[in-house]
Symmetry: C2
Subunit: 293 residues, 2 copies
């Protein structure tokens, strides 16, 4: 596997730390060698693999869908109402629909909607350097998984094509579904109950439930990802923790607090000072997005 | 891949139906061809892949562990107390312990305990013909998963070695876990809350959540597996439904009602009459268990 496998990464400490880690755990003669079945890597999605500003893509989807359903909600109402208003919006837009219908609705939206102000389809708002990292890890025998606060069903509508991950490796928050025999046969209906909000200390529990193995790589960008990074760091194997810092107000956004929910980045950055790898978007990435589609 | 890949199956209709199905969905020139990523097969565990009589292995484990913890419960108390007593037993024996400690405890028990009256370790109570079927499907590009009412953590303590499945493909009932920073660092503690009882109509929801794809093969043995089989049968692809019938009082057990919980087999057998493949253990299997270990 010759050539630069991370061409959108500048030759900085972040890239060096990834290269050293991958060499150490995949070289059979290395003291840090980890067998392929144990090479588990977990990634947050919003703000780690794609842009989460000015609002999460899934929230933009929900607002559009609420309007389409005749119950428009504004971003201002949402900011004022906080979590209860957000939960109401999710119930309105993500329930009372079969899983097949919901997937079709997500796909239609993802194909048609454009990110303001970049004017790109949302699936083109993924970070090219992170796509290269996913591919590099995959070529080196890693199983990459997404563990994110976003909805599992929403993410799966694009993640397989965009990230190259099978649906079972894309895990987020989960709404309850109900099995019933409908007019067209058996179907699963999404209902308004939220089974899991996959954020913070819930993430290690979800990893245990869905993977059943301790990861050796974790990547995140806010305090909601801290537990997942701590859990990974405590593996008996050599591990790699990646913390994405949004420092690029020109090409992406510069911020230290995620949109809407306001989860900060203080704890994760404090932890990163203890030896985790910080990715400074402005400094470490030569390209942020792939060439305009 | 020459030779008989199912040597423990007699030359009966069941074996024929498996062979025909596998040929139809894996031959590129077949009208029923299914691409490898969509070849998902789901299996119940207790009574489908291994013996569930005289009581589920996990229940034998729980009874032994309760005695070890100084709170012995008898099988008679359990039968008299029904579900509430069972839930209390699970809380006593499956909670207040880290996931690492629980796994170690399961492994110790699985190595030491013997099945009455067969005198074998429980992992040697798996059905040799089903091991051959799992291997056959694996060789033909299928991803085999277990979806069972048994506990995920208990099953994973032996399923990888015995069935050759990675932990993420072994899904059962789930107790809640809590992330905390303990004296030795980050850990997950199992608590007494039961998040999911993975039986009946819950199974298609669990498959959606953990796989995110519709299976094309499903195997079960009681009415608790009916929804999973119906869900699979409704796939747009050609599918295979397998219903294991316990007809072999000499080599295994002959019964139509599962132990303890008493879930029947009436509905699943009625459904099987509509074209599903019934596996009659006495008639269809030349060997039930592998040679004595």
């Amino acid at each position: 596997m010759g050539g630069d496998q991370l061409p959108s990464w500048r030759e900085t400490a972040a890239k060096q730390s990834i290269a050293e880690f991958v060499a150490a755990v995949t070289s059979p003669e290395s003291a840090d060698f980890v067998a392929p079945p144990e090479r588990i890597a977990v990634f947050d999605n919003d703000g780690t693999l794609w842009t989460e500003q000015p609002v999460y893509a899934q929230l933009a989807f929900a607002l559009d869908r609420a309007a389409e359903l005749g119950h428009p909600v504004s971003l201002e109402q949402l900011r004022a109402g906080g979590m209860p208003t957000l939960v109401d919006l999710v119930k309105l837009t993500h329930a009372g629909i079969t899983t097949d219908e919901f997937e079709a609705s997500c796909r239609r939206w993802l194909a048609a909607a454009r990110h303001p102000p970049f004017g790109r389809p949302y699936p083109a708002m993924v970070y090219q350097p992170m796509l290269e990292l996913l591919a590099l890890l995959g070529r080196h025998g890693f199983s990459c998984w997404i563990f994110s606060g976003g909805g599992t069903d929403f993410m799966r509508a694009f993640a397989s094509e965009v990230y190259g991950l099978p649906p079972h490796r894309v895990i987020g928050s989960v709404g309850a579904t109900e099995f019933r025999i409908g007019a067209d046969g058996p179907e699963l209906v999404k209902n308004a109950a939220i089974d899991v909000i996959n954020d913070g200390p819930q993430q290690p529990s979800s990893i245990h439930r869905h993977v059943g193995q301790r990861p050796i790589v974790a990547a995140g960008n806010t305090d909601g990802d801290l537990a997942m990074l701590q859990w990974t760091a405590a593996s008996p194997h050599r591990t790699l923790q990646l913390v994405v810092r949004h420092t690029d107000g020109d090409r992406e956004y510069a911020y230290d607090r995620d949109p809407i929910l306001g989860s900060g980045t203080g704890q994760i950055h404090a932890a990163a000072e203890q030896g985790w790898t910080v990715i400074d978007m402005a400094a470490d990435w030569s390209t942020v997005y792939s060439p305009a589609p």
